[in-house]
C-alpha cells in the first residue's frame, strides 16, 4: 500500500465520499457548510473562520512528513490486564474503536523526514477512544523515541487526549513516568524533542510528555490544560475567564512558545529542526 492510499483510507470522510451527505461538512465552530474536498485540501481548517478541526493520525503524518515515510508497527502490549468492565467490557470498547480506526490504538509513529530533515513524528489520535493514554499509547510513544535515538534525529509529538485510559487504571498513570524516561534519554542524547499541542490535550498527557518539550507549539484554539473545566468550575464556583485553557491563553501565560497555524506547521518544524540539529562532536 502506498502512502496515498493509506492516508486516504483513514480520512474521516474518505471512504463514504460517494454518498451526497458526505460531500459537505459543517464547520463545528462557525456552522458554515463546507465542501468536504475543499475542507480537506485546506488541511481540515475552516476557510471561513480558521477553526482547526481534529484530524486523524494518518492525515497528520501526511501533512507533516515528506512522501515515503514509514509507519512503525504498533507495539504489542498487555491487553486489558485489569479485566475492566463498566457498562461494557473494555475489550469490546477496544474492538469497536479498532473497527472505526485504521490503527490498533491512539498513538501512531511515522519515521521519515520533514522537508528533508530527518525526523520521527508521533501522533496521538483523538479519534481513537479520545486519544486516551494507556499502555499502547505509552509504549508507542517510547517506540517513537527509540526510533529517534537510533536514527539520531529529532522527535516531534503531536498530542491529543481527553485524559487517561481509565479502563487501564493505574497502568495508565504509570505511562507518565514511563514516557518521561524517554524524554530524558532524548535530552541526554542531545536530540530535540518538540511538542505540538493539538485540540484537546488534557490530564496526564499534559502533565507529562506534552509539557517536557524543548519547544512547545500549539495549534490555534486548541484546548490545553491539566484539570477539566467542569472540575475547576465545581471547585472555584466562579465563571472561567475568557479563552481559558486555549492555546492563545497558554501562550500568554508562558506555557507554549508559539501558536502556529496548521498551514505553517511543517515549515515551522523544519526551521526549528535546523536550529536544534544534534550537536556535533567537537
Amino acid at each position: 500500500m502506498n502512502w496515498l492510499s493509506r492516508v486516504r483510507n483513514s480520512l474521516p470522510f474518505g471512504n463514504k465520499r460517494e454518498t451526497p451527505d458526505n460531500l459537505w461538512v459543517k464547520c463545528p465552530s462557525c456552522q458554515e457548510m463546507l465542501f468536504t474536498k475543499e475542507y480537506e485540501d485546506n488541511l481540515s481548517v475552516c476557510p471561513r473562520c480558521e477553526h482547526h478541526g481534529r484530524i486523524g493520525a494518518d492525515e497528520r503524518l501526511a501533512q507533516l512528513l515528506d512522501l515515503g515515510f514509514d509507519v512503525l508497527p504498533q507495539p504489542e502490549v498487555a491487553e486489558d490486564p485489569l479485566k475492566f468492565r463498566d457498562s461494557k467490557k473494555y475489550t469490546d470498547r477496544l474492538k469497536e474503536a479498532r473497527a472505526k480506526n485504521p490503527h490498533k490504538d491512539a498513538f501512531v509513529v511515522g519515521s521519515g523526514a520533514i522537508e528533508g530533515r530527518a525526523a520521527v513524528v508521533g501522533v496521538q489520535d483523538f479519534g481513537f477512544m479520545g486519544g486516551s493514554m494507556g499502555m499502547a499509547v505509552g509504549e508507542a510513544f517510547c517506540a517513537g523515541a527509540r526510533e529517534a535515538l537510533q536514527r539520531g534525529c529529532g522527535y516531534i509529538v503531536c498530542t491529543a487526549a481527553g485524559g487517561a485510559r481509565m479502563q487501564e487504571g493505574i497502568l495508565s498513570l504509570m505511562q507518565m513516568p514511563k514516557a518521561t524516561v524517554m524524554t530524558r534519554r532524548l535530552k541526554e542524547a542531545g536530540l530535540p524533542y518538540i511538542v505540538v499541542l493539538t485540540d484537546p490535550t488534557t490530564g496526564g498527557v499534559t502533565a507529562s510528555y506534552a509539557m517536557l518539550g524543548d519547544v512547545h507549539i500549539a495549534e490555534p484554539g486548541a484546548l490545553i490544560g491539566f484539570a477539566g473545566q467542569r472540575v475547576i468550575q465545581d471547585t472555584i464556583r466562579e465563571k472561567l475567564p475568557e479563552g481559558f485553557q486555549r492555546a492563545e491563553y497558554l501562550h500568554k501565560h508562558g506555557m507554549v512558545d508559539m501558536v502556529v497555524k496548521r498551514a505553517d506547521l511543517r515549515e515551522t518544524l523544519a526551521t526549528l529542526l535546523d536550529y536544534l540539529a544534534p550537536a556535533k562532536a567537537a
Binding site: 498487555a78 468492565r85 457498562s87 505509552g138 481509565m166 513516568p177 530524558r184
Partner: protein, 315 residues
Amino acid sequence: MISYLEFEKPVAQLDKRIEELRAASGHDDVDISAEIARLEQKSADLLASTYASLSPWQKTQVARHPARPHFRDFVAHAFDEFIPLGGDRYYGEDEAIMGGFARLGERRVVLIGHEKGNDTESRLRHNFGMGKPEGYRKAIRLMELAGRFGLPVVTLVDTSGAFPGVEAEERGQAEAIARSTEACLALPVPMVATIVGEGGSGGAVALASAERVLMLEHAVYSVISPEGCASILWRTAEKAPDAAEAMKVTAQHLLKLGVIDRIVGEPAGGAQRDPVATAKTLGRAIGEELDALSGKDPAELRRQREERFLRIGTL
C-alpha cells in the same frame, strides 16, 4: 473517640455496649468485667475480620479517614528530626506539599510529602493536600538539592490530586507535575516513595516516580478518583464502589501488577486507630529500603528506576 466508618457500624455497636457496661459497673463487679472482656474480644475479632477483607471502596474510605496519620504524624513519630524548607523561589510557598531535611535514625534524607491537615484551620492552610504548581516546584528544588548533596529522597504521598483551579492552570500545573516526575527520574541518589493514604493521579505520581514504591496496607493509588471514574464511565458518581473495584486501587492489587514493591502493614482496624504505631512501622520499613539502596552508584539507581516504569505494559 475515633469516628467510625459506615462499614464499621457493627463494631461501633459493640464498642458502645462496652462503654455502657463500663459506666454501669463498679471496680469489683466480676460478672460485668468478664462480660466486658468477652465483648472487647468480640469487637477486636470483628474489627480484624472486617479489615482483613475490605473492599476497594471501603479501603478508599479508610485511606481518606480524617484521623489517619498525615505527614506531620510521620514526621513526629517516624523521623528523629525535621527541618522544613519553604518556597519554590519563583512564586510562593505551598503548604499542601511539605519538604525539608529529615533524620531517620542516623540516616540524613530529604523528606517531601503531601499534608492534608487535621482540622479546619490546618486543612485550609494545607489546601487539603492538593498541591499547586509552586508546591511541585518546591519539590523539584528540594530533589535537586538532595541530588547535589548526596541525600536520599523519601516521599510520603497522600493527595486526592493536584489542585484544579484557574490560577494553578495559569501557573502551569501540568508543567510543574511533569517536571517533578522528571526530577524524580533524574535523581542520582536513592529514592523511596510511600503511598500513605490517597495516591491520586498525576499529583501523586509526581512525587512517586521512585525505584522503590511502598504502600500502607489500606492506602489506595489510582489514575482518577473512583467517583471521577464512575461519573465518566457509569455517568453517576454513585457507582464509585464499582469503579474502585474495577480500577484495582488497593495495595494488594497493585503489588500483583508490579506497580508497587512492598506493602507496609497497618495496626488492627487501620492506621487511624494507632497513628504512632503506623508511623514507627513505616519508619522502619523506609529505613530498610534506604539501607538496601545505599552504596549503589547513581547510574545504577537511575537504571533501576527507569526499568520499573519502562517494563509496565510490555509483554
